[in-house]
């Protein structure tokens, strides 16, 4: 029964994930006095890409072809570990929250290699920036997860999710996790998904060489990754209230943040992430003190 529920959960989450992206875009356009594409546009985009011919550079190796599968595989595997629809619905025996972060690192590793693989200047630039950002983000992710784990005495996602009492440290850790989410989902102020300026891109520059079905996979993977991080906040860090409502609140918060500020200068991300790091350290400390 449990495995059936887990299977159902992952199918539903993957199916819904492009909608979240579409919804964020819709909210952003609403604030910007625009109509914008419909909320189902990401689905049409995926269908369009999946039906397109793929162009692969002659200079690439097997890594380029393999990376999209590594990425979508890793985000899906990580999503299996998150009890989104309720405590108990996840593969908690397979791995804990720490494992989740490292499973994601596996996908990122291949993505960065693939960016370099084609030998274009943009891919290399994107890969270098992505690794630079992730080296700042991962410690924050780990520490904030530690903080919420300390509260219940286990790094297991189910145990954290079913820990019913609200503590102040959870709030602080959630703040840090939100910064991680912004960075991991390529959102303003760290990255800008909508830009057409190839020189400013981070994630988009890395995947610039992809087309057709591979690009559809990568796009889908980033939708799933977004749901994953939103779920970690909604279901694990703040396990109170309705899951769907919390997801919408997070989506609205991300959208509002995106239109209300400019993207940071690349090296300013260091400041933002070190602030989040301090936040997560504080969360760990006050959690250890019992608040």
């Amino acid at each position: 029964m449990k495995y059936l529920l887990v299977a159902l959960q992952i199918v539903v989450l993957i199916a819904v994930s492009p909608f979240i992206t579409g919804l964020i875009k819709k909210i952003k356009n609403f604030i910007r006095l625009r109509k914008g594409p419909g909320v189902f546009q990401p689905y049409y985009d995926l269908a369009k890409l999946a039906g397109k011919e793929e162009v692969i550079s002659r200079d690439t190796s097997w890594i380029f072809a393999f990376a999209p599968y590594a990425v979508i595989g890793s985000v899906t595997a990580a999503l299996l570990l998150v009890p989104a629809f309720g405590p108990g619905i996840s593969l908690n025996r397979a791995g804990d929250l720490i494992a989740m972060i490292f499973i994601l690192a596996f996908g990122r590793f291949f993505m960065a290699l693939a960016g370099l693989d084609a030998g274009s200047a943009f891919g290399g630039m994107g890969s270098s920036r992505e690794m630079f950002i992730s080296s700042l983000v991962e410690p924050v992710a780990l520490l904030s997860v530690f903080a919420v784990s300390l509260n219940c005495g286990s790094t297991d996602a189910q145990a954290v999710a079913s820990y019913g009492t609200f503590r102040f440290s959870t709030l602080v850790a959630t703040g840090a996790l939100f910064a991680v989410t912004i960075a991991e989902t390529s959102r303003i102020p760290v990255d800008n998904r909508e830009t057409h300026l190839e020189l400013t891109m981070i994630h988009e520059a890395m995947v610039l060489e992809y087309s057709g079905r591979s690009l559809a996979l990568i796009e889908l993977a980033s939708h799933i990754k977004q749901v994953l991080f939103f779920s970690v906040i909604a279901a694990v860090a703040v396990p109170f209230g309705n899951y769907a409502v919390k997801m919408l609140v997070i989506a609205a918060a991300v959208a509002a943040l995106e239109v209300s500020m400019a993207k940071m200068r690349l090296f300013r991300v260091v400041d933002m992430m070190s602030f989040s790091f301090v936040l997560s350290v504080i969360a760990v400390v006050i959690s250890a003190m019992g608040y």
């Binding site: 952003k28 910007r32 057409h196 190839e198 020189l199 239109v259 400019a262 993207k263 200068r265 690349l266």
Partner: protein, 509 residues
């Protein structure tokens, strides 16, 4: 009283030419404003060179002129002493086959080696396109290289991800900071100057609007002024005022567009949405006033076709005041946004000295502390009455260029109000339709929103155009951009680029 530019020609022998130019350059403290050649081999057996400086005190153009033998045209390069002459020499080299000796850079600009054969000079009168099409191109362009450990090159363009003009940018970077940037332009070279030579002055007015679409009105205005100056036409005061109003409207919609563009280039969506409403309202206003959103078809030799009548005036004034309101709000949003200020403050600094040496003009020069605005120098009749003062900033960074735009927008609104008042006392007719074509040569110029558009034109007795040299402010300002990004990181380039917002077609011609 006439609003025609004054110009003084100084004839110099070829061997005295360089020294004379240098003397004027120093005495007038003016960069080379434009520098061009004319093929007079059939008539006089020479190529004639013109080097134009701006005399701010006398409010006049000073032109040094010389003739080079048609068979073997060579000249000492001015660019070692005056950097601002360099691009013009490269242009004359490719267009006329004039050799500039001791020049540090003799590469071609718009006629790319990969597609254009050697030895064909399109602006010579005896040039045959068919022969050039048959000849095979050879050679390759050689970019400046930076060597060293960890230096890599990032080639960008000419095809870009956004819908913008084509240009190639070659970055040499060490990590993210830019060590060197070289632009290669000319992809939209259409042979504009050559095409002018096939036209009558009357027909050429509408063609001049198409040189650079976002400055359509400025171009036709500068062109008409050149022709009017040759014909000795006195433009009615009403036409001068209406022209000035439209110049300011063109400035306003472009400044709104750029301010929004700078916001969107740092991913700041809301201000851009506000700015686009301003731009759209102004374009719609243009259409109501003239029938053309981009103010095309308004200028004619001898005045303007359109009139701003009594009932149109409230519409004009309401629209610009509403635009000012939104721009003030936008100004507040941008200046109070920490994230935006952090991006623009201190980014892409163009130093005053560099700007002066390169001959950077217009808005970009004023943002670097150079007080130079043709409206102040030549258009005293209209702008003097409006108490025009150029907007100057000292820092030369992206923020300074942004603030110059805001200040100019504000000033434009004020001046349009004043000009609309002046219209009441300015006679009925905006057009002097009768004129007799004359042979002659003159400069027509205007301070367009980017900077001075300078058009030198020569006609024959029937009013046919013999030669038309166009100088867009972008031509020299592209170099300013290259210097301003040095030491900045690559992801800040688009922002620097937008803060200059230079024209591809105006540069490539």
């Amino acid at each position: 009283m006439m609003d025609i530019n004054r110009e003084t020609y100084i004839e110099a022998a070829p061997e005295r030419f360089a020294a004379e130019c240098l003397r004027l350059h120093k005495r007038l403290d003016s960069a080379v404003m434009t520098y061009f050649a004319e093929d007079l081999r059939k008539e006089l057996g020479i190529f004639r060179l013109y080097c134009v400086f701006l005399d701010k005190e006398k409010k006049a153009w000073t032109v040094v002129r010389t003739g080079l033998p048609g068979a073997d045209a060579r000249m000492t390069s001015l660019s070692k002493e005056m950097f601002s002459a360099g691009l013009f020499e490269r242009e004359m080299g490719e267009m006329f086959g004039i050799k500039f000796e001791e020049s540090p850079d003799t590469r071609r600009l718009s006629l790319h080696d990969e597609v254009w054969p050697k030895g064909y000079y399109p602006l010579r009168k005896d040039f045959s396109p068919d022969d050039a099409a048959r000849a095979a191109p050879e050679g390759d362009y050689c970019f400046n290289r930076v060597d060293g450990e960890g230096i890599f090159e990032v080639p960008v363009g000419p095809v870009h991800a956004g819908i913008i003009g084509p240009g190639h940018f070659r970055f040499s970077a060490a990590g993210e900071p830019v060590i060197n940037l070289e632009t290669r332009l000319g992809f939209t070279h259409r042979g504009v100057e050559k095409l002018f030579e096939t036209m009558d002055a009357d027909n050429a007015v509408s063609f001049s609007e198409k040189v650079s679409g976002d400055s359509a009105f400025s171009y036709s205005c500068a062109f008409c002024r050149g022709i009017e100056s040759i014909y000795g036409l006195e433009v009615p005061l009403r036409a001068s005022i209406i022209r000035a109003i439209f110049i300011e409207l063109e400035r306003m919609y472009n400044h709104a567009n750029d301010i929004g563009g700078m916001a969107v280039d740092v991913g700041f969506g809301y201000p851009n949405a506000l700015a686009s409403t301003v731009k759209e309202d102004l374009l719609a206003l243009n259409r109501m006033l003239t029938g053309s959103r981009y103010l095309k078809g308004v200028n004619r030799i001898g005045g303007v076709n359109a009139d701003i009548s009594g009932e149109m005036k409230p519409l004009l004034l309401d629209s610009v005041l509403r635009a000012r309101e939104i721009m003030n709000e936008l100004n507040g949003i941008l200046h109070s946004s920490v994230s935006f200020m952090d991006r623009v403050d201190g980014t892409g600094i163009l130093k005053k000295k560099t700007a002066a040496d390169l001959g950077v003009t217009g808005l970009a020069a004023r943002a670097s502390g150079i007080r130079c605005d043709l409206r102040e120098i030549f258009d005293g009749q209209v702008y003097g009455a409006c108490r025009f003062k150029p907007a100057v900033q000292e820092e030369g960074d992206v923020l300074a260029r942004l603030n110059v735009r805001f200040d100019e927008f504000e000033a434009s609104v004020g001046m349009i109000n004043k000009m609309a008042e002046m219209l009441d006392k300015a006679g009925k007719s905006g057009l002097k339709a009768e004129y007799i074509p004359k042979a002659g040569a003159a400069i027509g110029s205007i301070e367009a929103w980017r900077g001075p558009v300078i058009i030198w034109v020569r006609t024959d007795p029937s009013g046919r155009i013999e030669r038309c040299k166009i100088t867009d402010p972008s031509f020299k300002n592209w170099q300013g951009l290259c210097f301003s990004v040095l030491g900045n990181i690559i992801p800040d380039f688009p922002l620097c680029n937008k803060s200059f917002d230079l024209s591809y077609p105006g540069n490539d011609l």
